[in-house]
């Protein structure tokens, strides 16, 4: 009895080794991810968070639906680990007291003020450099080709890329690994998972963020 218990314990240890892949145990391939900090959202995402080394698109209907709140816990966690977070071309002034209240260490947050062509270039440079934890860009007019470039840059720099765009683009094709849609209905904000690489079904139910 004891021998069997210790043998299965040993086996579990062996299988825990990161070099061993098991196809059968869960059907989701492993995705390295950064926890979003929102438990219910993490549960819906492969790897349990924002995919690392990939582009996530956040498509929102209006300003002020809590769309930025969605990424704040992850960004706060990164800056607290002294990893750089870059805001590229934000549409308004990010408000320092609110960022600090969300737990962001402002010493590791940088903002790049740039026009639309320079914004995509800057974002690519930051992603590719390998010294940024996350790069968050507001790129309303970005096209498929540029998104693809950013996806490659995020892969090579192993950074999280988050792109905010209008929900009008939801119907367009996109190379992003994860696409979320933030909308409002019945006085509550909902987050839809439109697309998620590594998840077999992309029709996730609506997720209620806050009342």
């Amino acid at each position: 009895m004891n021998a069997i218990a210790s043998a299965s314990h040993n086996l579990a240890q062996v299988l825990d080794h990161p070099g061993i892949w098991r196809r059968s145990a869960d059907r989701q391939p492993r995705v390295r991810a950064l926890s979003t900090g929102w438990t219910s959202l993490d549960a819906r995402l492969p790897g349990g968070g924002w995919p690392q080394g990939a582009v996530s698109e956040i498509l929102f209907e209006h300003d002020g639906l809590g769309e930025l709140d969605l990424v704040m816990p992850a960004l706060a966690a990164l800056t607290q680990e002294h990893r750089r977070v870059i805001f590229v071309a934000p549409p308004y002034q990010p408000y320092a007291p609110a960022l600090a209240a969300a737990g962001v260490d402002l010493r590791f947050l940088h903002e790049i003020h740039a026009g639309s062509t320079e914004a995509a270039w800057s974002m690519e440079q930051c992603l590719r450099s390998g010294c940024c934890g996350a790069v968050v860009g507001w790129l309303p007019d970005i096209d498929y080709r540029s998104l693809r470039r950013l996806q490659l840059a995020a892969e090579s720099g192993d950074a999280c890329a988050m792109i905010f765009r209008s929900a009008e683009h939801a119907a367009q094709n996109s190379p992003a690994a994860l696409r979320l849609k933030v909308s409002n209905s019945d006085e509550a904000t909902y987050v839809d998972v439109l697309k998620s690489r590594g998840l077999l079904t992309t029709t996730a139910p609506l997720l209620r963020m806050r009342a």
């Binding site: 549409p91 408000y95 450099s129 390998g130």
Partner: protein, 469 residues
């Protein structure tokens, strides 16, 4: 002691033609002479048969396209000092011997550079790379080294006996004695230095004077050479003036490279770096353009400095053709080689933050990159500012939106619900920017959460100030 002497025969020429990359046939005038005579000429001009001592008219007849300019003694002094800065990396005692020689004591550096041949090779290859023709000789006596640098390039004589033997074989014309002394000695039938060395001292003093005898003593190490040590300056300022007005940034790159290299030489001498420098261009109509090049961390590499300056220059809009280019740097902090965070994973391009920061600044400009800081002010629009964030901050008690509008806007239509508030913000009576507002968190018709305010005591006139994004 081992004194190495460098002589730069082309220094006057390079100084006068500093702003011109590949001049065609060019020659330098000796401004001393009453007649305008050619003092030196470049290879192309020599190929046309132009020789030292020709009159300008004769030279022009041989080559009508010849570019002729007078010597620029100020520029020569600057160039010599710049070369001294570069030499400072090999020796702590560097001395200028105007117009075109530098002495450095290398006896103390030999072990560091693993002996004379490797050291000489490093000096020579470094100077060749910068395009400075030079000759080099080394002996224990500074004056003798200076003489041999002109007559026996590459000579190194470590012992006193060797120096005296070699000096003895030199013709008087190459001894460095004043012309009058040489003429007097020639008249007496002397031709070589060893004949002079045998003469009785009082006799010699009567003929060529105290100064002449003293010089002979210095050559042989019997009198000491007083050599003021050159000190690297605390700031850098150098200006190149162009003959013609240069239009656009492209023709400015050659002078820019010269300036950044000179700066890098000074930095190497000071064992320092530069974090910020200014390029100033003077234009035809008296306008000036100032371009500030700032770096995230001190730099000293010539190529890097040039690239940074070049990207800035190319992005600048120049109002008119340029007449001068000046580089000025007065912040020369200690240089520390970049150190990576041990735990920061290096992936992708493997850039560290300072390098990325620099690359972004170079393309977007300094103002494009900024950081946010919390300011302890009750007025919301003043509580957030671009600047250098500190570690700990004190925060307002109320909830604050992530987006703040640059200035409050009238809200249309009115909010459909008030979710929280009011929070009275009343401040600024002391500095004239008085503010008295009641802030609310409200919901709009689209379900957005907004931060809006009303003047105290009223119920309409909603002003939108932020979004809870």
């Amino acid at each position: 002691m081992l004194w190495a002497c460098l002589r730069f025969p082309g220094l006057a020429f390079s100084a006068a033609f500093a702003a011109i990359p590949e001049a065609g046939p060019s020659a330098l005038l000796d401004s001393h002479a009453r007649q305008r005579l050619i003092a030196s000429a470049n290879d192309e001009a020599r190929a046309h048969g132009i020789r030292r001592g020709q009159s300008v008219a004769a030279a022009r007849a041989l080559c009508p396209a010849l570019e002729v300019r007078p010597r620029d003694r100020e520029a020569e002094k600057r160039l010599l000092a710049e070369l001294a800065a570069w030499c400072y990396q090999f020796s702590g005692h560097v001395s200028l011997v105007p117009p075109n020689a530098i002495l450095m004591e290398v006896g103390a550096s030999l072990r560091l550079f693993e002996g004379w041949p490797p050291l000489a090779e490093r000096v020579s290859s470094g100077l060749r790379e910068q395009g400075h023709a030079h000759t080099l000789a080394a002996t224990p006596f500074a004056s003798a080294s200076w003489v041999f640098a002109a007559t026996a390039d590459g000579m190194v004589l470590p012992t006193r006996e060797g120096v005296i033997r070699m000096l003895g074989a030199l013709p008087l014309t190459q001894s460095g004695l004043p012309g009058t002394a040489i003429a007097a000695l020639h008249a007496m039938g002397f031709r070589r230095l060893d004949e002079i060395f045998r003469l009785p001292r009082p006799e010699l003093t009567r003929r060529i004077g105290k100064a002449g005898v003293n010089w002979l003593d210095r050559l042989r190490g019997q009198a000491s050479d007083a050599l003021p040590a050159w000190q690297p300056p605390a700031s850098f300022q150098q200006k190149i003036e162009f003959d013609a007005e240069l239009d656009g940034s492209q023709p400015l790159l050659f002078p820019l490279r010269r300036l950044t290299r000179a700066l890098a030489n000074l930095l190497a001498a000071r064992d320092g770096g530069v974090q910020r420098f200014t390029l100033t261009l003077e234009h035809a109509r008296g306008e000036t353009t100032r371009i500030v090049v700032a770096m995230a961390a001190p730099q000293r590499d010539a190529e890097r400095l040039f690239e940074l300056a070049r990207t800035r220059l190319e992005r600048a809009t120049l109002p008119a053709p340029a007449r001068t280019l000046e580089l000025h740097a007065d912040e020369l902090p200690m240089f520390r080689p970049p150190v990576r965070d041990l735990f920061e994973p290096i992936r992708g391009d493997g850039l560290d933050w300072p390098t990325l920061d620099e690359r972004l600044r170079a393309r977007l400009g300094d103002a494009a990159l900024r950081q946010l800081m919390v300011v302890n002010d009750h007025r919301p629009e003043r509580a957030s500012r671009y600047g250098a964030p500190a570690g700990a901050v004190s925060l307002p008690r109320g909830r604050r939106p992530l987006w703040l509008l640059p200035r409050p806007l009238p809200m249309r239509p009115d909010p459909v619900a008030v979710l929280a508030g009011p929070e009275r913000i009343e401040s600024g009576w002391w500095d004239g920017a008085d503010a008295r507002r009641d802030y609310y968190i409200v919901r709009t018709v689209h379900g957005q959460q907004a931060w809006a305010y009303l003047p105290p005591g009223t119920l309409d006139g909603w002003m939108l100030h932020g979004w809870f994004a």
